[in-house]
């Protein structure tokens, strides 16, 4: 049996049932479209969280009564720590100057205040490759236990909230994706089942003249393959078109804080198309099982 005959039969079937085939493909596209759209949002949100998190540094406040000769040793230890890219020392005087500059016209509030009242501190820039919230937390907790250190700050609350939100979106996208994929497979398998019911007489005759199961099933599997492939590719294509259309509008937006807005990587959308196509084929095989029992 040649593939040629199976493809010829499949295309002849598609031509005869073009309406049903088109509707099934559209349903696959719509199901996948929702999933790909939310994945696209999640992908960019995750990048935004990561980008913004990298911008946040870690500030190590030292105790006010710390002897100044201890400072170089602490500076050197911090510099050697894993994940620390750079360390800047902020003396009490420098901190006071920054405060003055921040207050601008309201500096009179500092009139009777000692310029050395602020504690000395270190500002740590974190290595981008290392950035992971739990790593920063580990580093901060470790430094906070040193006897010379009064307090460590790294925008905990902000990052925790952002990370929790990002995780929630991830779960919604993953669960939604599975449900939408299942619904697409269900629609394809049901359509094939209905087509098989409608063509039971033909299948009976095919069995009678000695058609093997693969000969009978082949054209239906080709149809499912095409529905899965075209439906999912269209969904990815529509989101890509939306991305290219909106990208110039969002370029340089304050909202994105200079972050480049990106399309989903091929390592995501190629497997999505492949999984949808394979799932449609498997769904069809299951829906045809009963009809193939001789």
């Amino acid at each position: 049996m040649t593939l040629n005959i199976l493809f010829r039969r499949a295309f002849s079937d598609i031509k005869q049932n073009l309406g049903t085939q088109t509707v099934t493909t559209i349903v696959v596209t719509l199901s996948l479209l929702i999933f790909v759209f939310f994945s696209f949002l999640y992908f960019n949100l995750e990048r935004f969280v990561e980008h913004f998190g990298r911008e946040l540094g870690v500030v190590v406040y030292l105790k006010k009564d710390l002897p100044p000769e201890r400072i170089p040793a602490i500076f050197s230890t911090l510099q050697k720590m894993e994940g620390v890219k750079s360390v800047v020392y902020v003396s009490p005087e420098e901190a006071y100057r920054r405060l003055e500059s921040y207050l601008e016209n309201e500096t009179n509030v500092l009139d009777d205040v000692d310029p050395g009242f602020l504690p000395p501190s270190f500002e740590l820039e974190i290595n981008r490759a290392l950035f992971k919230l739990n790593k920063i937390r580990e580093l901060a907790n470790k430094v906070a236990r040193w006897p010379e250190v009064a307090k460590v700050q790294y925008g905990q609350e902000w990052l925790h909230r952002l990370e929790a939100f990002s995780q929630l979106i991830k779960m919604i996208v993953a669960a939604g994706g599975v449900l939408l994929l299942l619904s697409a497979v269900f629609v394809v398998a049901s359509t094939i089942k209905l087509t098989v019911y409608a063509r039971q007489e033909e299948l009976e005759i095919l069995r009678l003249v000695g058609a093997t199961n693969s000969f009978i099933q082949g054209p239906f599997l080709i149809e499912a393959f095409l529905q899965g492939l075209i439906g999912s590719s269209l969904a990815v294509g529509i989101i890509y078109a939306m991305y290219t259309y909106t990208r110039p509008m969002l370029a340089g937006s304050q909202l994105l804080r200079g972050l480049d807005y990106q399309f989903l990587p091929y390592t995501f959308w190629v497997p999505v198309i492949a999984v949808t196509t394979i799932a449609c084929i498997i769904g069809t095989m299951f829906s045809m099982r009963r009809f193939l029992q001789l």
Partner: protein, 226 residues
């Protein structure tokens, strides 16, 4: 291995029962030689169709053994059934043609399942349709044909892949005298070319005027009439 003396079809103690307790065949022993024309007769419900269905393994016997062209149908695996059916052409009283496919496409189905090339299919289908006198109607659809013509299409589909065995289940049941005579003529031609034919009918005029063995199915047993 099938030798010249080995029957092409053999029933050995075959029984067939349907639940709850309806016996259609009991301990049937029967041998049909290669190239034989056998008429299978008996009243309606005697089991003529069941016997034919057992032969192309649409059904399994409740007991006994059936051998067709060297294949033991009781032990035949599901994947081997299509290969058995390629050795058997089946003709039905209700033609079983696909109304949305042309005469050519209906007949071509039997060759497409064999994986023949498009040109080979075309050549053989045209030859067979010419042989049954329908060469000029190959692009028409079954509903556009008379009953006799539809039965000839059904015969063409059954014989186009040159099977050694032809099973005909009341093929003239829906035809008038003239069309019946045409179908009988075709059957004799096929038999003369070497095909083994089992022809189920309850019309005694058909076998009285034809050569061939006549078997009668009644009360679950097969008896030789002539």
């Amino acid at each position: 291995m099938l030798t010249a003396e080995t029957p092409i079809i053999s029933f050995q103690g075959v029984s067939k029962k349907y639940p709850p307790n309806h016996v259609v065949m009991s301990d049937v022993n029967l041998e049909i030689e290669k190239g034989e024309l056998v008429f299978l007769t008996g009243p309606s419900g005697a089991g003529k169709t069941t016997l034919l269905r057992l032969l192309f393994r649409a059904e399994l016997p409740s007991g006994g053994k059936i051998i067709v062209d060297g294949m033991d149908l009781s032990t035949l695996s599901r994947s081997q059934v299509p290969y058995l059916r390629r050795k058997i052409g089946v003709i039905f009283q209700d033609f079983k043609l696909l109304s949305n496919k042309s005469v050519f496409e209906n007949v071509a189905l039997s060759l497409e399942v064999l994986g023949l090339r498009k040109e080979q299919v075309k050549k053989r289908v045209c030859q067979v349709l010419e042989g049954v006198g329908l060469g000029h109607k190959m692009h028409q659809f079954p509903p556009q044909l008379s009953g006799g013509e539809q039965q000839r299409v059904s015969i063409a589909r059954a014989v186009v892949n040159r099977p050694p065995i032809i099973l005909a289940d009341e093929p003239t049941g829906n035809l008038d005298k003239i069309r019946t005579a045409e179908v009988m003529l075709l059957m004799h031609e096929l038999n003369a070319r070497g095909a083994t034919i089992i022809f189920a009918t309850h019309d005694d005029r058909l076998y009285k005027s034809s050569p061939g063995r006549v078997l009668r199915l009644e009360s679950g047993n097969v008896e030789v009439v002539s």
